[in-house]
Symmetry: C2
Subunit: 256 residues, 2 copies
């Protein structure tokens, strides 16, 4: 039975995709069978692992809107034990078309049943919004991992995101838990980063991962080569931080 | 007659809000009467100019969904010649509720008629999505200014954004023009920034502003004081860059 983790935050540019790709790859390096689902029509996770989204027989959109089985949308990546369900441009239509669909929030949850037994982890990259694509991910996931940039606007939005997670827990998915809050793009040279990270740790305490992801240019360069950081420059501080995070996520899973 | 400029890009965290606030303030410093409209439910532009969104008699949501006049949602800021229509949390509902409304894409366009004569510039901050809030902004604006972070994913998304702008030009708003592409968070120390900015300038040529916004910690710190950078640390590279940008936008307007 796979652990299904949604990577979500409605604030843009906080490191959702970078976390989805690099956590998935780091879990695969730790001998886990991992499926990465790209639920963002921008399809950054898809290009970040080197997949050409145009060449696919069946897309995630077909699965959500036409009832095709998710297993038909799965593609191999060139990384051992890492598979992906890529995003295609038609996915942007699903956000609007789902509005008038029966049980529109649980479409993904139902289709995940078919494949949940084949993987150890399923990681879902979400778009920067609280629309039906993100709501479907939160309704179908066992837990949610929230990346937060160590800056003012990202911190300000955290309260509203937690209120929305609680609404999902009270309704669509009572078993949804907080996997953890991940501090990203941390730059110890500036006081803003230190202040924000301290404030978040004081407020959310043990819910914040010990691992912090530093601002590190390898993490910004790797996507242009279609590779996770560990396969582009394994010794970099960015790649090492995500390998550390994977160890924390694995350890947390054992308690689960 | 105000020039109405939408600040849009579906990629998250590229500097839309930072540009909306600091361009608006810089135009006000140059003796222009400016209205900033916060069309993003995250309400970052609202808190970035120090407005408490809870204390408002009439919200942008009331104007879009209940036909209230926009003039009733305008608030004073503590910056001369800068007014704001703040975002409130109920705005997130508009994204879904607009789906089943008559002429759902032109709701803002119609309500702007009432106030367009009172300002020199109207700047609209958009959320990181191509949903109905952003489409309403593009349908109601005279031009669109596109901030692009000098990184791989932001550059990759530019093509799709331009295709969407063209669709709006072919349909909802034939008079919509590209105000310009603004390179943001430029860090001359890393080769990725230089490569991406060169590639964008080669491709879009004179459509790219001469002014580049450097990565500058003042721009990240100022929002926590509820002030535009020019009112927090006017000598900073960030504040100076936006003052330069305002001059380019003003000069472009004269040609208009
Ligand atoms: N720790 C880091 N250090 C340096 N750059 C980073 C780091 N994490 C992410 N980046 C870069 O910052 C930008 C934003 O990250 P990313 O795209 O992963 O965020 P996101 O939350 O997925 O954005 P969106 O809201 O658009 O989905 C990208 O260009 C990425 O390469
Ligand atoms: N030139 C800059 N230098 C340093 N930090 C910056 C710069 N521009 C923006 N920032 C910071 O980067 C983060 C993202 O910027 P901003 O919120 O303006 O982007 P956005 O496109 O409006 O994001 P969203 O997609 O969530 O609406 C913010 O924390 C902001 O303070
Ligand atoms: Mg992303
Ligand atoms: Mg913004």
């Amino acid at each position: 039975m796979a652990r299904i983790i949604a990577i979500a935050n409605q604030k843009g540019g906080v490191g959702k995709t970078t976390t989805s790709i690099n956590l998935s790859a780091s879990l695969a390096i730790n001998d886990q069978a991992v499926l990465l689902i790209d639920m963002d029509p921008q399809s950054n996770a898809t290009s970040g692992v080197g997949i050409d989204q145009k060449a696919l027989p069946c897309s995630l959109y077909d699965c959500l809107m036409r009832g095709k089985p998710l297993s038909e949308a799965v593609s191999q990546t060139n990384i051992a034990r890492l598979w992906i369900i890529p995003a295609t441009a038609d996915l942007v239509g699903a956000e609007v078309e789902l509005v008038n669909v029966e049980e529109r929030e649980s479409v993904l949850k139902k289709s995940l049943q078919e494949i949940v037994g084949r993987y150890d982890y399923i990681i879902i990259d979400c778009p920067p919004a609280l629309g039906f694509l993100t709501i479907n991910a939160l309704a179908g996931a066992h837990s949610v991992l929230i990346p937060v940039q160590c800056e003012y606007y990202a911190m300000e939005g955290l309260g509203r995101l937690m209120a929305n997670v609680k609404r999902i827990q009270d309704g669509l998915n009572p078993s949804l838990v907080l996997e953890g809050i991940l501090l990203t793009m941390f730059d110890s040279r500036n006081s803003l980063g230190r202040q924000v990270s301290e404030e978040i740790r004081n407020h959310f305490k043990e819910k914040v991962y010990k691992t912090m992801i530093p601002r590190n240019v390898t993490l910004a360069e790797a996507p242009s080569y279609g590779k996770p950081a560990a396969f582009y420059n394994a010794a970099s501080a960015g790649a090492q931080a995500y390998l550390e995070l994977a160890k924390e996520v694995l350890a947390h899973g054992e308690e689960g």
